[in-house]
Amino acid sequence: MSTALSRVAAGVGAFFRFWYGFIVGDDWTVAAAVGVALLITAALNQRGIIAWWLLPLTVAVATAASLRRTVAPRPGG
């Protein structure tokens, strides 16, 4: 019984680890920035304000910030 339970727990853990890695990955700030940009875009769209530009702009800025935070890899590495 405990073996079955531990298998289920391992399976559930693997499931959540997979989706965490898929959505968040190695930098949660990028996923968070995308989420916030989508919320603001939805709010602006509701008010009839053109907002399609906000998400691409956020993606560009969040990617630049994420790259700046990481240590540059060595050539050939």
Partner: protein
């Protein structure tokens, strides 16, 4: 063949080709980057789900919440595509483009494990399911409106078969591209489609409809190349 039949065939063929290109671009990109076995599992599962959706909803496909589907799949592709975009930028910056033509079989993104590569599976499944549902929408809406369902189905099926054949030819080219650069290219593609679909899912109107994908793709490509040059300078500096 009557004029109405030909018109329906051409309309569904062209409209479905646009969707099929997006589907095949994702499948070929993921397959070449992660490996083909799990990608084909994802494609098969995607088509099986698509058939189930079509069988369940039939001609009432319009009641499928396509906006929600676009939003969920778009956001997932976007956040995952951004991970590949960043990794691709860092790897291309580190290795430059020297060695083009030599596949990097030891690259960490290529799946070498025994079981199913769920990342490739999920990406391929999503691409096939969303684009497949959109093609089914086109068939049902055009076919029903013109009462030419057979021509609509044949037009969409022709588009899918021809695009898949072209994708198969491109896959050979993709397999010769270094995986670090391929990851960057696929990252740009996933980020583009993810951005486009997630905003469409929110009900946001793009300035030029589906054609907006092209300037969006160009924007992300310019961003990726610019960031790669900046990262390259950081790498060289130390």
């Amino acid at each position: 063949m009557t004029t109405a039949t030909a018109t329906v065939f051409i309309t569904t063929f062209l409209a479905s080709t646009v969707e099929a290109i997006e589907m095949v671009a994702i499948v070929v990109g993921v397959g070449a980057t992660r490996g083909w076995r799990s990608t084909w599992f994802g494609v098969t599962a995607g088509f099986a789900l698509l058939v189930a959706v079509v069988v369940v909803f039939g001609l009432a496909l319009g009641s499928v919440p396509i906006g929600l589907l676009r939003l969920v799949i778009g956001v997932l592709l976007l956040v995952f595509g951004l991970q590949w975009l960043r990794k691709g930028i860092k790897r291309v910056a580190a290795r430059s483009l020297t060695g083009m033509g030599i596949p990097e079989v030891t690259d960490s993104e290529f799946w070498v494990g025994r079981g199913v590569d769920w990342t490739a599976f999920v990406l391929a499944l999503k691409g096939v399911l969303l684009e497949g549902v959109e093609i089914a929408f086109i068939v049902v809406s055009v076919g029903l409106a013109a009462r030419e369902m057979t021509a609509a189905i044949v037009g969409a099926a022709s588009a899918l078969v021809l695009t898949a054949a072209a994708g198969t030819a491109f896959a050979a080219v993709f397999n010769r591209i270094p995986r670090s650069f391929l990851q960057l290219v696929v990252g740009i593609l996933l980020t583009t489609f993810g951005t486009f679909w997630s905003l469409e899912g929110l009900g946001v109107e793009w300035p030029s409809g589906d054609l907006s994908i092209l300037p969006l793709l160009a924007f992300y490509a310019v961003i990726a190349l610019s960031y790669t040059r900046i990262e390259r300078r950081r790498v060289v500096a130390g």
